[in-house]
């Protein structure tokens, strides 16, 4: 059943529904065309890409925690060149807006990645990942300091041919301060939250349950934190927000929109319950009926 009641406008474009695949939880969009077709989403964010291929972290890379999971993937990716050659030609034709998430190990690499992605034809937007907790070589999460975040956004923005979404980290003292700094530096939109830095110990082995010491926490257990942060940031900035973190039901997605998100990202949900995307969309329509609302866009920022 298709209906334009789920349509929303984001960065000047009409998006057919507000559900976006979060980076790193839907691969490069082509892994499971039948189980979870790309067309199910309003937009798709790709696994983080960088100018050169990255190996990622040693296994184990996943540890389940109560109502959540830790990951330490470490941004393994094929590199933008291989992506452009092998994957992009197949993705482009799908007609689903594609957001390319990207990062670098240093400023030059960030710039290089922004340039390389700008050379692709037909992207919808670029998502600057300032918030991955799995890259110790940065010494810190870039988005934890408003000044560092601002400097990077200023450096990157002029290189971007597509709208720039900046992805924020929850591992900060004040997320609205960082959000404001990014807006002032030229970000077109924000996405939040990335994972929360966490840890799990195997007490019998007396070691981390991951191949690294720490990992990023995602899934239902982080939803209340994500919701609070989206709500806080939506009052601090005027640019639109992709809200994510633990969304796993229609109610969660509606809550995100009420808190101020224009689009709702789903990550861990896709790893567990690919049907969840359809369930959310159907649940949203039922909610609209129940509340006598015409369109899902009416929900945005009501709180």
């Amino acid at each position: 059943m298709t209906s334009n009641r789920l349509e929303v406008t984001f960065l000047g474009k009409t998006i057919k529904n507000p559900i976006v695949a979060a980076s790193g939880c839907y691969g490069y969009g082509l892994e499971q065309p039948e189980l979870l077709p790309p067309e199910a989403f309003g937009a798709i964010t790709l696994k983080g890409l960088s100018a050169t291929p990255k190996r990622g972290n040693p296994p184990p890379r996943i540890a389940e925690t109560p109502c959540g999971m830790l990951n330490s993937i470490g941004l393994e990716n094929v590199g933008i060149e291989a992506f452009a050659k092998n994957t992009w030609p197949h993705l482009r034709g799908l007609g689903v807006p594609i957001i390319a998430n990207f990062f670098g190990d240093d400023e030059t690499e960030f710039q290089k990645a922004a340039q390389m992605l700008s050379d692709l034809e037909g992207l919808f937007a670029m998502e600057l990942n300032l918030s991955c907790p799995n890259k110790p070589q940065w010494g810190r999460i870039l988005a934890s300091d408003p000044k560092v975040a601002s400097r990077l956004v200023r450096l990157i923005k002029p290189l971007c041919r597509y709208p720039l979404i900046v992805k924020l980290s929850p591992n900060v003292a004040s997320i609205s301060e960082v959000a404001k700094a990014c807006e002032d530096s030229g970000a077109d939109a924000l996405s939040l939250i990335n994972t929360l830095l966490g840890m799990a110990i195997d007490v019998d082995a007396k070691s981390s349950r991951l191949g690294t010491r720490f990992g990023g926490l995602s899934g239902p257990s982080i939803y209340p934190i994500a919701l609070r942060m989206v709500s806080e940031v939506s009052r601090a900035v005027r640019i639109p927000i992709v809200g994510m973190g633990g969304v796993s039901s229609p109610e969660d997605a509606i809550g995100m929109m009420l808190a101020g998100a224009s689009l709702v990202g789903v990550g861990t949900l896709l790893l567990v319950n690919p049907f969840g995307v359809e369930e959310i969309k159907q649940g949203m329509l039922a909610y609209l009926d129940r509340h006598g609302l015409e369109k899902v866009a009416c929900l945005q920022g009501r709180l």
């Binding site: 189980l35 899934g219 239902p220």
Partner: protein, 308 residues
């Protein structure tokens, strides 16, 4: 009859085993129709699926999870041990060893309980079987016997000439899930305490019964599934005695669908590959065994094993 969930799925119920497993899994609901103790710490779980998936091939797995709780959150990978589709519906069977939170909760499921099932996933053993294969020797440790149950049933369809032998090891007689194997002959059992069959590890049984490999004119292939130390030892034997070895890994997985990169395993070229899509069944020659065990990768696979 359940409706087919995939436009590409043929409506024919018999598996087309000539094609490579171009697995396009589907997500469905599995209602518990049978659950029973199969051995000490092991149970048999049978689900009626509400959609008809592509016919699974031996070695492929399903991701099974809970619809009524978010703790445990992730689906658990389980090898498909049996699959039957007919006019009354479609049933899939698993042999499950109780390990932690998820498998313990599964063991508590009762008839009528509804689970989430994504099926079938990964590569199968069958694509390693040639049409003129004379003999397949399956080597299983513990619950690693699960995929061999389906293999025993399907092998004849792929290679009518082949005979199928199962060398099956467990710690004790109580831990053998013999009732569910569906084998009358060709079964060789090893128990570490000698309470049934050969006394020792299944890898020692392989060594002792090496003649089985030669009888088939040297064309026998060995397919194995079990704990990492067992696979490691078996690979040593394969190198020494020059037989073809194909293994299935039970490493930890996040999604099983290729989305998360959580199942990365290093291959011979030192590249990470996705175990859920490249595996779980792999040619032993593609595996970097030394690194695998040294770096304690696949720790989740029960590897408390440190090679000297």
């Amino acid at each position: 009859m359940p409706t087919s969930c995939s436009s590409r799925t043929s409506t024919a119920l018999s598996p087309d085993l000539s094609v490579r497993p171009a697995s396009s899994p589907c997500q469905t609901e599995g209602e518990v129709v049978a659950i029973a103790q199969a051995g000490a710490g092991i149970f048999w779980l049978e689900l009626a699926l509400s959609l008809l998936p592509m016919s699974p091939m031996a070695g492929q797995f399903a991701m099974v999870g809970f619809k009524d709780t978010q703790d445990p959150l992730l689906n658990r990978p389980l090898s498909i041990a049996s699959f039957e589709a007919g006019s009354t519906g479609c049933r899939v069977g698993f042999l499950v060893a109780i390990r932690g939170k998820g498998t313990r909760r599964l063991a508590e499921a009762r008839q009528g309980h509804k689970l989430r099932v994504i099926i079938p996933m990964g590569q199968s053993f069958l694509r390693h079987v040639g049409p003129d294969q004379r003999r397949i020797i399956a080597v299983a440790g513990g619950v690693g016997v699960a995929p061999m149950v389906l293999l025993g049933r399907q092998i004849k369809q792929v290679s009518p000439e082949a005979d199928f032998l199962l060398l099956y090891g467990a710690k004790t007689k109580a831990e053998l899930a013999k009732r569910h194997l569906g084998l009358t002959d060709g079964l060789y059992v090893a128990t570490e305490d000698g309470s049934e069959g050969f006394k020792g590890r299944v890898t020692e049984l392989v060594e002792a019964e090496r003649a089985l490999l030669l009888q088939a004119g040297g064309s026998a292939k060995v397919f194995a599934c079990g704990p990492l130390p067992m696979l490691y030892a078996l690979n040593k034997l394969a190198e020494r005695h020059r037989f073809d070895l194909v293994v299935s890994f039970e490493g930890p997985m996040g999604c099983g669908m290729g989305f998360c990169l959580g199942c990365a395993m290093e291959n011979r070229e030192g590249m990470y590959v996705k175990l859920c899509q490249k595996g779980p069944v792999m040619d032993a020659k593609e595996v970097d065994w030394e690194r695998l065990t040294r770096s304690d990768e696949l720790r989740g696979a029960g590897c408390d094993f440190k090679p000297a």
